[in-house]
Each structure stands twice: as C-alpha cells, then as structure tokens.
C-alpha cells in the first residue's frame, strides 16, 4: 500500500527513459508514452488521495531506514490536495502540448526531447511534494529546475536560451542557499526530517542560529517562488518559453517554491513565543506586500500578453506568501487555498494565451485587437478565468483573497488587508486592458467588420475549458479542499 508513493515517482521517470527510445521511429510514440505515464500517475494519485482521506497520513521509509536517518516519502492532507492539483494540471498540459509542439518544433528529434523532459518534470514535481525530509526536497528541486531550464531553452527563439541560462544561474544560487540552510539546520538540531524537526523545535535552547538557518532556506525557496526582490528570472523565462511550459512554470513551479516556504513557516510557527520571531515574520510580510503592488504595476505597464500574465504571477505569489507569513488561522488557510486556486487559473490563462499565439502568431495587445471575435472559445476562456485573478465573487480567486484579508485582520494588521484590496483593484486595471483589446477594439482597423471564426484545435480547447470550469467550480464549491486544509492548519497551530 505505501509503495504507491514510490510508484508515483517511478512511472513518469520510466516514461522519461522509454519515450526517447520508442520515439526514434515515430515521434507520436513519445507523446503516447508521456500521456500514458501522466495518466497512470494521475490515477495512482486519485487512489492515494482516497486512502489518505480515509486513513490519515501515509509514509514510506525507503530501504527500511528509520524516518529520522533515511529518506522518507510521506503524504498528508496538504500534500494530497496539492498532488491532485499538480498532476491534473500536468495531465491536461501533456494533452495540450501535442498540437502546440507540433507547430513550434518541426523537427521530430526536438519533440522527443520535449516529451522526455516533460516526463522528468511530471516525476520530480510530485516527488518534491511527497518528500518527508529537507534533503530529498532539495534533490527533487534541483531535478525539476534543470528540466524546466531545458524546456525554456527548447524554443526556436535565441532569447529563450538566454532566459534559460538566467533562470539556471539564479535557481542554482537559490539551490546552494537551500543546501547551506539545510546543513546549518541539521547541525543545530541533528535531523532533517520535517516531522522530527517540528517536534524538536519546541525544545531548542539556542534559537538565533536556527532562525538564521530557516531564513536562509526561505531565501532559497524565495528564488524558486519568484518572491519580489528575487523575481528577476521570471518575466523573461515566462515570455520566451513555449506556452505549455509557461503554464507549468507559472502554474506549478513557482507554487512549489511557495510550498517550500510554507513548510519552513510550519517550523517557524513552533518558535512563535521567542523574541526574534516577529522580525523575520515582518520582513516576509513586507516583501510579499511589495510583490503584490510591484507585480500588479508591472503588469499594467506591459504590452505583451504573456508578460502581463507573468507579472501578474509575481503579484499573486505575493498574496500566497502574505497569507502564509501572517501565520494566523485564516491567513494560513487562505495562503494554501490560493496555491491551488492560482495554479488552476494561471495555467488556464497561459494555455488560452498560448492558443491565441498558436493561431495568430501575435503577442502584443495592439496586434491582438479584435481576436475575441475570431477565436470566441479561447478568448472566452481567457475572459472567464481573468475574473478569478481579479477576485470577483463567483470565481475561485475571491475566496482565497477573502481568507487572506480575514487572516490579516485576525493577526491585527489592518494595513495588510488594505494592501490586498489595493492589489485586487490594480489587477482589475490590467484585466480590463486585456478585455478591452480582445473584444472592444475594431478588427483590422475597422475596414472589414466580418471575421471568419478560426479556432484552435480541439486538443487544445478541451484542456483550456476543463481548467476554466475548474476555476469556477473551486469558487462555488470550495468546501472540498477547505475541509482537508482546515484539519492541516488545526494540527499546526
């Protein structure tokens, strides 16, 4: 039963090995392998989720070493909810990739590499979520960063390689900082296992070095999460990567960085009564508030549709980290919920922006004027998920932003609640700019008003609309993720 945890990692890794072998003759075979691997690991995760929801935490120590010495894979409520989100999006993106990559990479050889790397990502992302100790987290973090760099650089444009190298240098620096922090933490506490660390935190006598170690780890994860002063790699990487990869980068990878920060904050919360704790907490809160404002303003100033979405990611990561850093009951709940919500809505937005790019080969808002009439389904999905980013009630963004506001009030920080509302207001502006360009501008400069409908293929529309409905569904029926997250937060505080 516990071995499922291992299978979830191994099946896509096997896919990464088999896909280039079978893909030599026909590149469609590589796509089929990636699809089968994603489907298998997704169904295993659904089964695992059923088990965890009925029996509680499941853990598997590799090689039968005890949990505090060896490598441990574990799944608790938070992990399982995130696993379901991450792998469902991964599966949909694999389906979407087929048509998009066919056009982007005409050579069959490059397509095979693409699917091989996609399988590696699909193996490393769940493994990172399931890792029970910090060092295993670091190993899988390095694996998916490397795969992501290769996928950013795979495109035809030369700038993509430069953006990839920039991400590689910054994320490796972040990785080194994480490793340094882990080494310090294990030196002062004697263990790397997250559960064991949480237990030992309460009995630590010398608090300052432990806090320094945790802060270093948080800075490292902040680079991966593109938290405000550390976000420099994000706009280029999102802009030049192929659209399915932008969706993975923005929808999943930076959320995984936020998940790392979340795990560190779980450790920090145990030290809540010590005197130096509020200092670190305040810095994290202010960084995320600056991220909210900076990202939204940056998005307003951009012309390129994908860059607008990229800067909006910087702003949304600010919301997530603010909720987590407030570490009040509603704040933590809102932060966790926003991880899921942002993953769903931002991947839907990037996929539909990718569909526009696929059909029209146009990137800026000026060029995309009036595309809403030409591609009603893709542009409609973009408009519908956009209301989730702004946080208008029926969509999912509203719920988590509401919880983060409540968390700020609960922690006694009215100023931060106002900042959250201000960020929401700013995001209305860039959302309305997109809507204005897509629907309310004349087509072809007003000369020819009749437009033929020219839609993206069905293999791209189906994933987009599943994600769009998911973002609305999560807004209305949000009891389902919330009941498990509430149990998780109650166990921590």
């Amino acid at each position: 039963m516990e071995k499922i945890l291992l299978l979830i990692v191994i099946i896509p890794l096997m896919g990464a090995i088999i896909a280039p072998l079978l893909g030599q003759k026909k590149s469609q075979a590589a796509f089929m392998i990636a699809l089968i691997a994603a489907l298998l690991s997704w169904s295993l995760i659904v089964f695992l989720a059923g088990q965890v929801f009925s029996h509680g935490r499941i853990s598997y120590p590799l090689g039968n070493w005890g949990a505090s010495w060896g490598i441990e894979l574990a799944a608790d409520y938070l992990t399982v909810v995130l696993l379901l989100t991450v792998n469902s999006i991964g599966l949909l993106i694999t389906i979407y990739s087929y048509s998009y990559i066919e056009k982007l990479l005409p050579e069959a050889k490059r397509r095979i590499y693409y699917y091989c790397l996609l399988c590696m990502l699909l193996a490393a992302m769940p493994a990172f979520l399931m890792a029970g100790d910090l060092f295993t987290m670091f190993v899988y973090l390095s694996l998916f960063s490397l795969a992501a760099v290769a996928l950013i650089a795979i495109g035809r444009e030369r700038q993509a390689i430069l953006a990839g190298l920039r991400y590689l240098i910054l994320s490796t620096t972040g990785g080194v900082l994480i490793l340094l922090g882990i080494a310090l933490l294990s030196y002062f506490t004697g263990t790397m296992n997250l559960n064991e660390l949480t237990k030992r935190m309460a009995h630590i006598t010398n608090v300052k070095p432990v806090l320094v170690a945790i802060s270093i780890i948080i800075i490292g994860f902040g680079v991966k999460a593109a938290l405000f002063p550390l976000h420099l790699w994000l706009p280029d990487a999102h802009g030049f990567a192929p659209s399915p990869i932008s969706a993975i980068l923005s929808g999943i990878l930076i959320e995984l960085g936020a998940y790392g920060i979340l795990r560190c904050v779980f450790l920090l919360v145990q030290l809540k009564s010590r005197e130096i704790y509020p200092f670190i907490n305040n810095i994290l809160c202010w960084m995320s508030v600056l991220a909210i404002i900076y990202g939204a303003v940056g998005a307003i100033l951009q012309q390129d549709l994908k860059l607008i979405l990229a800067y909006s990611s910087v702003s949304q990561i600010g919301y997530i980290v603010l909720g987590i850093a407030l570490s009040s009951y509603y704040g933590l709940l809102g932060g966790m919920l926003h991880i899921i919500n942002h993953a769903v809505m931002k991947s839907a937005l990037f996929l539909s922006a990718g569909a526009l790019l696929y059909k029209t080969d146009k990137r800026t808002l000026k060029e995309l004027e009036g595309v809403g009439k030409q591609m009603p389904y893709s542009a409609g999905a973009l408009a519908l998920t956009g209301i989730a980013i702004v946080g208008i009630p029926p969509a999912c963004g509203f719920v988590s932003e509401w919880y983060i506001c409540m968390g700020a009030i609960q922690a006694g920080r009215m100023g931060f609640a106002i900042c959250v509302l201000g960020g929401s207001f700013l995001s209305t502006i860039y959302y309305l700019r997109i809507i204005n360009a897509l629907y309310f501008k004349p087509v072809n400069g007003g000369k020819d008003t009749r437009v033929a409908i020219n839609e993206a293929p069905l293999g791209m529309l189906v994933p987009i609309w599943i994600l769009t409905f998911a973002s609305l569904w999560l807004g209305i029926f949000n009891r389902w993720p919330l009941q498990w997250l509430e149990k998780m937060v109650a166990g921590i505080l």
Partner: protein, 118 residues
Amino acid sequence: MEFFLHAYYQIAAIILFFIGFYLLIVTPNLIKKILGINIMETAVFLFLISLGRIGGGQRAPILHEGIRWTECVNPLPQHMVILGVLMTLGVTGFALFLVVKIYAHYRTLNSDKLRRML
C-alpha cells in the same frame, strides 16, 4: 582564539562561500559566473563534510569490535555531499552547453551587453 582553532573548516567554508558569491555578482563574464556558483557549492560541501566529525574521530564508519562511534565520522553528510557533487556536475555541464550556444549566436559572453540585446 580557541574558537578559530576549533572551527577552521567552517571559517574556510564561509570565506570560500563569499568569494564565490562576489564572483557571481560582480563579474559580467558568464563563465566566471558559473565558476562562482561552483565555488559557492564547494564551500557548502566543505561545510557539510565538516559536520560529520561528531566526536572528533576521523576513521571510516565501519563498526567492529573495539571501535567506539566517537572515533568514526558520520556517514550521512558524506552521502549528501556525493549526491550534491553529482548534481553540480550536471548543472555545470548544462550551463556551459548553454553558454556555448549563446556565444555561437551573439559572439559575446558579457552579460551586460547580452541584457541590452535581449
């Protein structure tokens, strides 16, 4: 003074770390930046290795009759360092490959000039 005598590994690691960090931030040359990352990683590995000396012992951790655990090193940091070295190798190789591609296209390795071209 006694502290410096006891913790010379750690102090060397910290100095190395900042040399690497300086190189990463200050030089515009891409290959030197990658070198800087390598030096930083080496510093962290040195630090990790130095954590393995639990009781001051320096023997290989093979326990048999007559040897106490305080005479041996802790094998756990060493296993982590080996994994870390492998990962550094992969990252460095891949980064240098990207640098070769960039040089073939832009004919420069200066990151300030490259940023203006982007």
